[in-house]
Symmetry: none
Amino acid sequence: MHAFDVLGDPVRRRLLELLADGERSAGDLTETVRAEFGISQPAVSQHLRVLRDHGFASVRPDGARRLYSVDADARPLHEVDDWLQAFRRAWTPRLAALDTEIARGRRARRTEETP
Amino acid sequence: MHAFDVLGDPVRRRLLELLADGERSAGDLTETVRAEFGISQPAVSQHLRVLRDHGFASVRPDGARRLYSVDADARPLHEVDDWLQAFRRAWTPRLAALDTEIARGRRARRTEETP
DNA sequence: CACTTATATAAGTCAAGACGTATGTCAGCG
DNA sequence: CGCTGACATACGTCTTGACTTATATAAGTG
């Protein structure tokens, strides 16, 4: 399963969003996601497994609990980000050009205002 | 279908990569992708439809040809990029550690407050 | 106009994966 | 130790979506 497939699922995206704020126990995550999506505990557990197996999240035991967090190096997230890079180039020049236009407009207006 | 689902398919990712270099005809794209993935012309056409329908690509007729390009504003690509933003913070190890500390502090405080 | 080329749509098949219920594992506690 | 609480795994079901083949549409070309 590719990184993008992992992120294709809304539950998994939500779990990662929750983890973005820092470590959370499986039970904590399950409760939140259960309320929002109406799915069972095993369903959440399976999603957490996918996140683990694909290097998005890592776990650390704390007694009977499992504390999840975004994987330290988050390789797959980098992978996704890198893939997007090609397109950032495509849209950035346009935005840069737009910025230039705006600046030019400002300059022109300034010039008019203070003759 | 969410933007991430659209990008979940390797053929569609490849098509976008090809389009990142500029406009290309459907036939051109089909030939390349067919060679690489061994799929039929209709299969590629269906993928192109998904890219169109979800705002990743746009088309312009040129006689009997259809010239595809990455959609001018590429809204869904931005969407994906924005979603990743939350995790860019987590990539800087120091900040990630800080987040974890903050979460731990919150947890500790919560535990103290509600004995 | 008949024929070919370029591309899209239709309809059916098949596999992946998301979910639920049931059950297993393991830590902590009396 | 037996019980409970926190998670994980097994397994069967159902849906989605990626293919395929067949066919439609529409633009050149002789």
